[in-house]
């Protein structure tokens, strides 16, 4: 173990995790405070389906409910995502930055360098777990909530292990391939699919056991917050961690280090083939570099197309026919839930196909997909050019800063629109395939609102990017704000006395008008569009006034 590599890993990475833990603490306090004041009787009638989706314990104690909702889904997603970011950057990030050669020029073996970095990752995730455990103990004390009989510690142990599992998966892929994009993309994809699958599969009779094939099952499957630690599940996660660690060591040892060269894309192969050269040259050589907006778009196209394809196929098309397979009693039961309850899950009422899509697609996954694309594009827009030191050269051309920002905004709008359209096409197609007879116009309206809510937070990321020139601040800043406002809108309506405050969250203008049933609410759409414009205008003002960063 190299102490300095270990501590450097922690020093480089603790900030993001700290922000994540603090945000989760704030969410838990907010959630528990709201839950404390509501009538609990409705929760006891919750159907199994909701419980498996949101990990809500059977003996609905107010405290446990908040633990389950906040830490059982959002918490694990956030901590595991951060672990993936750390794991992917561990070896592959140093190769991308061209620092790996220098690091390995020291008389230390690859294995020991990798082990030290892996230990750093483990320590950060463990520390996050400990901190969350502290907040889980502290919050009920502050709010005077009785949590007797609950096992938040067990939930957090499972959460920590599943996060480490995904972090080490990213580390193994990154160490074996040297590609950060592949490492974080594949790991995040596996995480998202397993999260959705473990939520969905138990809704269908006979498919429940399939959930065991997905890692997320060993986090929530045994309902640790109610039943305590399931050591068999923990052992399975640990075994996975060990396998990934071994793969990382072996994979890293055996391969050549990557120099800072760039990868070969499909278009590059077409360009080197004499038959396709002319066509490919035209595409790559003149179209992609014809404008800043098109070039910017092309740099994010992998993210856009993969997200759009997943939303179209999995969250759109597939769900239509699946609705017909849903258990009849389950459908009827959810039809009886009070509105406040439904609002918490994005307003889904499974007795109608609209409710089904609202719950599964539009409530959470659609905003996540659109926001992921718009926020990444917004955050990278200006700050990535500054961090890669290309902004000075770009702005030495006879174009104004406002023009650059405008072009970057266009690319982001197109990215959000494509994901929005893929959701529309997927859900409309799913409705047709399943013969659900949903209104195409209403699906379009809801997808449009989803794209618009994405643009609001994309514009926020763009604003932070324009104001600071730092990608990380823009990504983390806009993510924290988005998660807080999302839950603000989800939780505040649960308490009738303060339900009106939900209007302060932009997410209120996304689904509160129930567009899947009522069609487009142009007023709400206008509010979201206006918010976007205001944020972009602010970004222009701040970017024009600021000194460009000098990095490197």
């Amino acid at each position: 173990m190299l102490a300095n590599v270990f501590t450097k890993t922690i020093a480089d990475r603790w900030k993001g995790m700290t922000i994540g833990v603090i945000s989760l603490f704030a969410l838990l306090v907010m959630g528990m405070a709201v839950y404390r004041d509501i009538d609990l009787s409705v929760y006891t009638s919750l159907p199994e389906a909701y419980r498996s989706l949101f990990n809500i314990p059977t003996d609905a104690d107010v405290g446990a409910l908040a633990f389950g909702v906040i830490y059982g889904s959002y918490g694990a997603l956030i901590v595991a995502s951060l672990a993936i970011a750390i794991g992917a950057a561990t070896i592959a990030g140093e190769e991308r930055n061209g620092t790996i050669g220098l690091l390995l020029a020291n008389p230390k073996s690859r294995t020991i360098v990798l082990t030290s970095k892996g230990a750093g990752l483990t320590a950060i995730v463990a520390a996050a777990g400990l901190a969350l455990w502290g907040t889980a103990w502290l919050t009920p004390q502050i709010l005077g909530v009785n949590t007797t009989g609950m096992h938040p510690g067990a939930l957090i142990l499972h959460l920590t292990m599943v996060s480490l599992f995904f972090g080490l998966l990213a580390l193994a892929i990154g160490a074996s391939t040297g590609k950060t994009g592949v490492a974080s993309g594949v790991s995040a994809g596996v995480m998202a699919i397993s999260f959705v699958a473990v939520g969905l599969l138990p809704l269908f009779e006979g498919w429940e056991d399939l959930a065991r094939a997905f890692p997320w099952y060993y986090f929530t499957g045994a309902d640790p917050v109610n039943n305590g630690v399931d050591w068999a599940h923990i052992a399975i996660l640990i075994a996975g961690c060990v396998v990934f660690a071994v793969v990382a060591v072996v994979g890293f040892k055996r391969r050549d280090l990557r120099s800072q060269t760039v990868g070969v894309s499909v278009i590059d192969r077409l360009r080197s083939n004499p038959v396709t050269k002319q066509f490919a040259d035209r595409l790559a050589g003149s179209v992609f570099v014809s404008r800043i907006s098109i070039k910017t778009f092309s740099e994010s196209q992998a993210l856009i197309y993969i997200t759009a394809a997943l939303m179209f196929l999995v969250m759109g098309l597939m769900l239509g026919p699946m609705y017909n397979l849903l258990d009849e009693t389950l459908r009827n039961l959810t039809g009886q839930l009070p509105d406040a309850m439904l609002a918490m899950f994005g307003g889904g009422d499974m007795s109608t196909p609209e409710g089904w899509y609202q719950l599964e697609t539009f409530g959470m996954m659609a905003p996540i997909a659109v926001l992921a694309v718009t926020m990444v594009m917004g955050a990278r827009s200006l700050a990535a050019e500054e961090e890669h030191r290309t902004m000075g050269l770009l702005l030495s051309n006879p174009i104004s800063r406002s023009y650059v920002l405008f072009e970057k905004t266009i690319a982001m709008v197109v990215g959000g629109a494509i994901v929005g359209f893929s959701i529309f096409a997927g859900v409309a197609g799913g409705s047709l395939l399943g013969g659900l007879g949903m209104s195409i116009g209403n699906i379009a309206a809801t997808s449009l609102l989803a794209a618009l809510i994405g643009l609001v937070f994309g514009a926020l990321a763009l604003l932070l990017s324009a104001a600071t020139g730092r990608v990380k601040i823009a990504v983390y800043g806009s993510t924290v704000v988005a998660v807080l406002l999302y839950l603000w809108n989800a939780l505040i309506p649960l308490n009738v006395n303060i339900a009106g405050w939900a209007k302060w969250s932009p997410f209120y203008y996304y689904l509160s008008s129930d567009p899947l049933n009522n069609g487009m609410n142009w007023g709400h759409g206008a509010i979201l569009a206006a918010l976007t414009l205001i944020l972009v205008a602010l970004a222009v003002a701040l970017f024009n006034r600021r000194d460009l960063r000098q990095t490197g």
Binding site: S290, G392, L393, S396, N397, G552
Partner: protein, 303 residues
């Protein structure tokens, strides 16, 4: 437009918090001139250039290029300039040609025949991705990018970084051709020899202050050199200190080293008089040495 002055700064000042990156800089550069901007690392060269390009905004003072204000009219200025940033970075996934196409599109097109001619002269490979090029070859793409729109003013921050000597020579003749056509070059460097070879005048900057502007001929006349003498027996310091033009004489047993700007025949006469001279090594003094010798007082940062 003011035809008399290509680049002018008036009291240009940039502070970062309490750090004075640039202090009260006054420079006038005439059209048809190569102005060398010399200074050690961190002296304020890049800060000056970034202010001229409107990347950063001055704390006080102003600057103009071709009579246009660098802040108010920066977009118009950029139609007339070519720029090579220091520590050049470009888009690694684009080929050299894609990179040039991208920038050409932002300028409303360029003469591609001229681009090919430039690529030929610098021996640049435009078909490879920028990320796969060595730093010298990447620099060539950056240079073509600066020259390709036939700018009236070239602003270059350490432009020959990474270039091999042959390409450096070609680059320098390209600079001279620009001047012959009436262009202006603002060339920042920390290498005295490069600036001496091409520049007409040199501004020397240190700690954010312009401490001298001189013709290159004048600077060369100062001709300070570093001289090392090796003898077959130990020698005495006093022998050399008596010769006009010696400074900082250090004697280590058989070896004497010094800064020298006097007459070489006098030094050699003194050296051979007392002992047998075995070897002699003399080289151009580095910039730091000239600063220390001539500009020691001016370079002090006021308390």
């Amino acid at each position: 437009m003011n035809d008399q002055i290509a680049i002018r700064t008036e009291g240009l000042t940039k502070h970062y918090g309490s750090v004075e990156a640039l202090n009260d800089l006054d420079i006038d550069i005439r059209p048809g001139e190569i102005f060398g901007f010399l200074g050690p690392n961190g002296a304020g060269k890049t800060t000056t250039i970034r202010t001229l390009l409107d990347e950063i905004h001055p704390t006080a003072g102003r600057a103009e290029i071709l009579g246009l204000d660098t802040h108010q009219q920066s977009v118009e200025i950029r139609r007339h300039i070519g720029y090579v940033p220091g520590d050049l970075a470009m888009y690694p996934r684009l080929t050299g040609r894609d990179t040039l196409t991208f920038f050409a599109n932002l300028r409303g097109g360029v003469d591609w025949g001229y681009v090919d001619e430039l690529a030929d002269r610098l021996d640049a490979d435009l078909s490879k991705k920028v990320g796969d090029l060595s730093s010298g070859n990447r620099q060539k793409v950056g240079l073509i990018q600066a020259f390709m729109n036939k700018p009236e003013v070239l602003i270059m921050d350490e432009p020959s970084a990474g270039l091999d000597p042959l390409v450096q020579r070609e680059f320098q003749s390209m600079l001279r051709e620009e001047i012959a056509k009436g262009g202006t070059v603002f060339l920042s460097s920390h290498t005295l020899s490069e600036v001496q070879r091409v520049a007409d005048r040199v501004g020397i900057i240190r700690h954010g202050r312009l401490i001298a502007v001189e013709g290159v001929a004048g600077l060369r006349a100062k001709g300070i050199r570093r001289v090392d003498l090796y003898f077959d027996e130990p020698v005495d310091t006093s022998v050399f200190e008596a010769v006009t033009g010696t400074r900082d004489v250090i004697v280590q047993n058989h070896h004497v080293s010094m800064s020298f700007d006097g007459r070489m025949d006098e030094l050699l006469a003194a050296a051979t008089q007392h002992a047998t001279l075995v070897d002699i090594n003399t080289q151009e003094a580095d910039l730091e040495e000239i600063f220390l010798t001539y500009y020691r007082d001016e370079a002090e940062v006021p308390a």
